[in-house]
Structures are given as structure tokens and as C-alpha cells.
Symmetry: C2
């Protein structure tokens, strides 16, 4: 049985959509056990009348909620009985193997590091969302905002962690890694990109293909895109805006008049496949990589479907031993770094 | 008569598409005079049999071409008889009021600064492409790649220059300016964004609305998005990749079978309007702001239509006195900066 703990109170439509998502995930997967953390009365109300296997669902009552507006570090430290803090505590204590929250990103990041703790050897945990690409596959973008200021070694770890994630959970063999830059030539970028490019090229355990550009996020030939959190955030939100524009314009155009409405009906399969190809929600949440267990951060505006995908994602990460594989790769990487710097110090290079 | 000088040899499809674009622009505008710079034999061949007013077109023969692969500074300094260098020299000498090239970006940037020269008071010239947005209007993104490393004062100048451009050429009244950042809160970003945010907020001649995010490039409520060249490049190319994915998937889906092909025919107007709403080419090239005259850099893969739009854009910049208005605004800004720093030194602030 895979046990996932759910922050039932985090998100714009919590707990209603979170509870519904949990039920959907539970009904789709007989080997899933869920712990819903939050206000018991509200959760019970959302559960009432719904069909699900009660023996695989448990509620842990909490009295507080961390809102999107609160200062993350302060909220995590003071709201000891918030759904998020209690969920992370249960995870830490081994009551569950993975966690899902669609609450405040800052609070999830803070609680992840302060309560659960980092995976040994990882310098900086990072957020890794999945972006659909033109091959009908996934681009794993890491980091998308957890670490605004980074050093080259942080980005190397992002590359390793996202590769382990892609391999363990999605079966991507030897994922191709690109560094997000303003051009493909070696000299491109600021000092951070130039140094990271050299470091990635000299780390055998990463399948590094070189610098890539913003367009390669959705239209490239890579599996993993590595970036500092600032740059990754710009890329992710830029394509998000483009996607929103596309869906807004398409909706507007198909609703223009009776004829276009008929066309929309006739083109149903085209529109459906088109939507699927760009489907953000269906890709799940951002995996918070570099912690000692699997943590998925769902979008704040997640509805039941998106949230159920996040739960599935967390369960698959547990089953694929994502963290174990990541640990092996991180150790290998750190050994390589230590060897290189020892060689450099001894004047062998 | 508005005189524009054309680098006829720059671009993936030069001189064929450049010459055709020039003819189209000439035929659409009776007050336009064009100087085509490049290999006379090739240009004449492209012109032959075409209908246009010969009295408004002139050819200046050159023997060299700067390719996309060459090192810009070296190429501009050594290839004295290249179409790009000669075009810039004619512009500098007053033979034309504006210039259009779809050649190597680096070479255009170098020639712009070295041959034509900066507008007095501008710290760093910058590239400003136009991105379509969800309001059916334009977002002016400045800088998109001319300056990888920037100081806050450079970004302030980008804001002023792009505002002057939007107002002079597109009639945008008091353009709303946002700073591209990884969140809207004041403390967001690296030191550069934090300091620039404070500087923009304290410069009355810029209509600054605050930090904005990547999604606001296409889905926001701003006219001008300011960024350092690295970050702006990431945003621009990210939405470019998304746009490419969208058009690829839509094409593929509509071509899937006979039924979807019929749907495509029936949905003609929807698809057309949809394409128009995302039309990159129709927006023209990137204006190279901060030089003493109007310079438009077209996309390297420009076909005749896109190139003719670039020519129109350059002509409109001349007619709208873009550079004059920019000069007034830059002087005003620099006065404000000088006043503020004098006050600060005198302990008044």
C-alpha cells in the first residue's frame, strides 16, 4: 500500500476540490492509502455521500490554515496546527511516503526544508514542473522558482535530480539535459551560465547536450531543462501566458457566431487533441526535488482532476523509488566533483 | 518623401525576399523612397519584370556580405564593402532616414553603435520586438538580447525608449510599463530587479505599474515590458516556442484525416483570426532603440511579407519622429536622475 498524506486545506478551492481529487485518486488506484489533513468537519462534509473505500482513507484533524498571503517562514514556524505543517510532520514521522499540497508555494518550500529535511548531499532543493512539448512528451524544468540566486553546483544538482525524477517516475532513459541560456554557443549567458555549462559538460553522469534556448522548453529535443529559479520562472510563466492567450482566442473565435459554433462542434476531436497536447493540468504538479521524500506541489487553482493527478504523481514517485535513485546519482555526482577538485588542487588538470 | 535604406543581402532568403518585400512596401506607400544596398546584378535580376515606381528606388552596389556565422565586431570592421556596413554608412551620411536589415543580429548591433552611433544620453541601445497580446494589442519587450549584463539605469532607459517608440509609432498614450520579474511583490528578483523596481517607481516620466511576470508578456495589462537582455531573451524565445508548438499541433490535428481536413476548410475564418491574433510576422521586426536614427532588425528568416512590414515600421518611426521624442524623454529622465542624486548627496533624501 502506498501512503500519501494530503494537505486538504491548501489551494484556492480547498477543501472541496482537494477532497474530490483524493476520492478520484483513491477510486482509480486500489493500492493507494490517503491521509487527509485539515478541518475534520469540512472534510467529512465533502466526503459525505461519495463512494470510496473508507478503509484506505484517514482524516487527521487540524485547526489552522496557512493562506497564500502569509510570510512563509513565519507561518510555518508559528502555525503548528496548520494542515500543511501537520502533513509534513506525518511525512517526516514515517506515517506516509509522499505528500501533496496545492497551498502557498513559499510555505511548502519552507516546510519541506525545515520539517521534512533535505536529501543528504543536495545543496538546494528545487521545484520541477512538467511542460508539454512538441514531441508529445515531457520537458522537466528545474528549477522554476525555489532558488532565485544559484551557484553552478546548484544547477548541476538540479540536472541530476530532474534526470533521476524523469527516469524513476516516467521511464525516460538517460534523459537529455539542456541548460537554459540566451543562445546555444558556449560563450553565451552570464557568468552563472558560462560556468554551469562547463561544469555540466565535465560531469559524466549527466547526459548534457549543451546550452538551449527558451523555445526549447516546448519545441526542443531535450528531456530536462536546467535553470536557476529566476530564469526558470520567467520561461515557465511566459509559456503559461502564451497558452492562456491561445485558449482565450480560440474560445472567442469559436463562439463568434452560429456558424463558428457549429464549426466548433464539428471540430470537436481536433480541439480535444489540441487541448490535450497543451494540457498543463494533466501533467500534474511540480515535484519538489531534493527532499528526503516525494513532495508534489499542485497549482494553487487546482481543481479535482488536476489534484488527483498530483496524488498519482506522488504515488508513482514513491513506487519508482525516485528518492533512492536520486540519492545514488547525487552521491556519484558529488564524488565526481570531489575528484575533479582534488585533481585540480594537485595540479593534475 | 521618407527615405529608407535596405540591407538587401542580409537574411536566410536574401536578396530574393528582401527585394520582393521592398517592391511591396514601395507599391503600398507613394511617399516612400528606397535604397537597396547589395549585389547589383542579383538585385536587378530580382527586380526584373516586377512593377514598381523606378523613380523611388535606387541600388547601391556592394561586393561583400556578412554571414550569420561571422564574429560581428570583426566582420563590421573588416568588411567595409558589405551591404550592411554600406547601408549604415549611407544612413549616417544622411542619405536615408531609417534602415532595415534582416542580417546577423550581432552585426546590426555592432554596426548600429560603431557606424551610426548612439543617441546622446542613452547608456545602452536595446532591441525591442513587438509581441501580440490577449487584448489584441502590442507588448513592447525591451531589451530582448542586445545587453546581457545590465545596470538599473540601463533598464530605466529601456523603459523610456520603448515608451517613446510605442507612443510615436503606434500612438499608445502614456504606455504602461512593467518590469519582468519572478513575482509581483516588491522584494522579488535579484539585486538588479529590486534596484530597478525602486528606480522606475521614482522616475515620474515613466508610467510604471510595477513588477510583472512572464505570463504578462502575452496575457497582461501592460504596453511595455522592461528586462535585461538575458531575461528578455528567455521570455521572448519561450513564447516563440509555445507559438511554434501550437501551430504545429493545430496543423497536424487538422490534417489527421479527411473529416478533420473538411473541418479545417469549414473553420477557415476561425483559423485565420486565430493565426492573426498570434501573428508574429505581421508585427514587424525589432526596433533597435537608442541610436540616432530608426533601425529595424527583421527576423533572419523573413519572407517578403515580413520584410515589407519592417520597411513600413521604419518609415512610420521616421514619420512619427520617434528619435526626436525619445531624445526629449531621455533628456528629461537624465535630468531627473541628476536631480535625485544631487538631492541624495546633499542629504535632502
Amino acid at each position: 500500500m502506498t501512503k500519501i498524506v494530503i494537505d486538504a486545506m491548501g489551494g484556492d478551492f480547498a477543501p472541496q476540490q482537494q477532497v474530490q481529487g483524493a476520492i478520484d485518486a483513491l477510486n482509480a488506484d486500489k493500492n493507494l492509502y490517503l491521509i487527509l489533513v485539515g478541518d475534520e468537519a469540512q472534510i467529512t462534509r465533502e466526503l459525505s455521500g461519495k463512494k470510496y473505500d473508507e478503509s484506505r482513507l484517514e482524516i487527521v484533524h487540524t485547526t489552522e490554515v496557512i493562506s497564500m498571503e502569509e510570510i512563509p517562514t513565519k507561518a510555518v514556524k508559528t502555525k503548528k496546527d496548520s494542515s500543511l505543517v501537520v502533513a509534513f510532520r506525518l511525512l517526516k514521522e514515517g506515517k506516509a511516503d509522499g505528500l501533496v499540497s496545492s497551498g502557498s508555494t513559499g510555505a511548502v518550500l519552507t516546510a519541506g526544508v525545515l520539517i521534512l529535511g533535505r536529501l543528504k548531499g543536495v545543496s538546494r532543493p528545487a521545484l520541477c514542473p512538467i511542460i508539454p512539448n512538441h514531441r508529445g512528451e515531457n520537458t522537466f524544468l528545474c528549477d522554476c522558482g525555489a532558488n532565485v540566486e544559484c551557484k553552478p553546483v546548484n544547477l548541476l544538482h538540479f540536472a541530476v535530480m530532474a534526470s533521476a525524477y524523469a527516469e524513476a517516475v516516467y521511464g525516460v532513459k538517460n534523459p537529455k539535459v539542456g541548460l537554459l541560456n540566451n543562445g546555444t554557443e558556449e560563450h553565451k549567458g552570464l557568468a552563472l551560465q558560462q560556468e554551469t555549462n562547463a561544469l555540466l559538460a565535465n560531469t559524466p553522469c549527466v547526459n548534457y547536450v549543451g546550452n538551449v534556448e527558451g523555445r526549447d522548453l516546448m519545441f526542443g529535443d531535450i528531456d530536462v531543462m536546467v535553470a536557476d529559479g529566476f530564469t526558470g520562472n520567467i520561461a515557465m510563466k511566459s509559456v503559461e501566458g502564451c497558452g492562456k492567450l491561445v485558449s482565450t482566442v480560440l474560445k472567442k473565435e469559436y463562439k463568434r457566431n452560429l456558424w463558428t459554433k457549429i464549426c466548433a462542434l464539428l471540430s470537436g476531436s481536433v480541439i480535444k487533441n489540441f487541448k490535450n497536447a497543451l494540457d498543463y493540468e494533466g501533467k500534474g504538479g511540480a515535484m519538489f526535488l531534493g527532499l528526503s521524500k516525494a513532495v508534489v506541489k499542485g497549482h494553487g487553482n487546482s481543481k479535482a482532476y488536476a489534484f488527483s493527478v498530483c496524488i498519482k504523481q506522488a504515488a508513482e514517485a514513491v513506487r519508482g523509488d525516485m528518492v533512492g535513485k536520486m540519492k545514488t546519482m547525487i552521491d556519484e555526482t558529488n564524488d565526481e566533483i570531489a575528484k575533479t577538485s582534488a585533481n585540480t588542487e594537485n595540479g593534475e588538470e
